[in-house]
Symmetry: C2
Subunit: 161 residues, 2 copies
């Protein structure tokens, strides 16, 4: 499709929702759906100060690239797909993940975004550490993860993002 792109980015920079939305919009698209995941100030009644993310970067890029292909098989009318995940420290209210998907008509983009964030949580080797206001943080694996990869060396407890 003319001008269609799959964009996968892992970065320690602040994620720019407006720029990411614009990056998938094209003269042939009428709809862009987005999901923005942000750091919450609480988790199971504990006060969260910030999150920290780490990834197996090579594997994460490969799996997110494969996820783009999976989306295109399910929704053939998609135009462009952008998946940006932040690494390192992400303060409360800041975005850790931004997904933007465009299509000529809205149903495809809306459904694909929901599937994309569900699958990202299940497959991407990206871990998060919740840092609480009291006591040590805890690295752990995402409860939605279906394959529980081993955490990077030196980190004992992880959560997949």
């Amino acid at each position: 499709m003319e001008g269609a792109r799959d964009i996968v980015e892992l970065t320690t920079d602040v994620l720019d929702v407006g720029a990411i939305s614009a990056s998938v919009t094209h003269p042939t698209t009428g709809a862009t759906a987005l999901f923005v995941g942000t750091t919450r100030d609480n988790f199971e009644d504990k006060e969260v100060v910030r999150l920290e993310y780490e990834a197996y970067e090579g594997m994460a890029r490969k799996q997110l690239g494969a996820l783009c292909s999976e989306l295109r098989e399910k929704w053939v009318e998609l135009h462009s797909i952008a998946i940006h995940h932040r690494l390192g420290v992400v303060a409360v209210t800041q975005a850790s993940v931004v997904i933007a998907i465009s299509s000529p008509h809205r149903r495809d983009a809306l459904q694909a975004v929901e599937h994309c964030i569900d699958r990202l949580k299940a497959i991407a080797p990206i871990w998060k550490k919740e840092v609480y206001s009291e006591g040590e943080g805890q690295w752990k694996a995402n409860k939605e993860c279906t394959w529980a990869p081993t955490p990077p060396q030196g980190l004992s407890k992880w959560t997949l993002s």
Copy 2:
């Protein structure tokens, strides 16, 4: 809910997706879902140069406010809701509508955004004129509209947005 807002804006200004996303994000929310409707360069094989929108502004604000209440009844965990619709000329690739909804967890925000754009198309008295590269544009009513309001005086053919 602390800091929760319903924001409804009708404006001739360019819509800022990043600012609208940030306007609904709060320390207690982990998810923001957005829908961005943009002007496409074609409609039924005709080349579209731009769209023009007009609204019964008072009625549109009232109905979009009621739509926010409807969303809150269906998804009680929603935090903030922003519905911005542009009026006047909207060039190809520019946004005519931006919806952003936040919630602690993602499913509520994602489902509410899809319902919101479906309902906006069905109920809001906002018309669009497609201006083609050849010949006159045509004001007309949205094919999804369930109540087909009379167009403003002086405009003969309309489409609800």
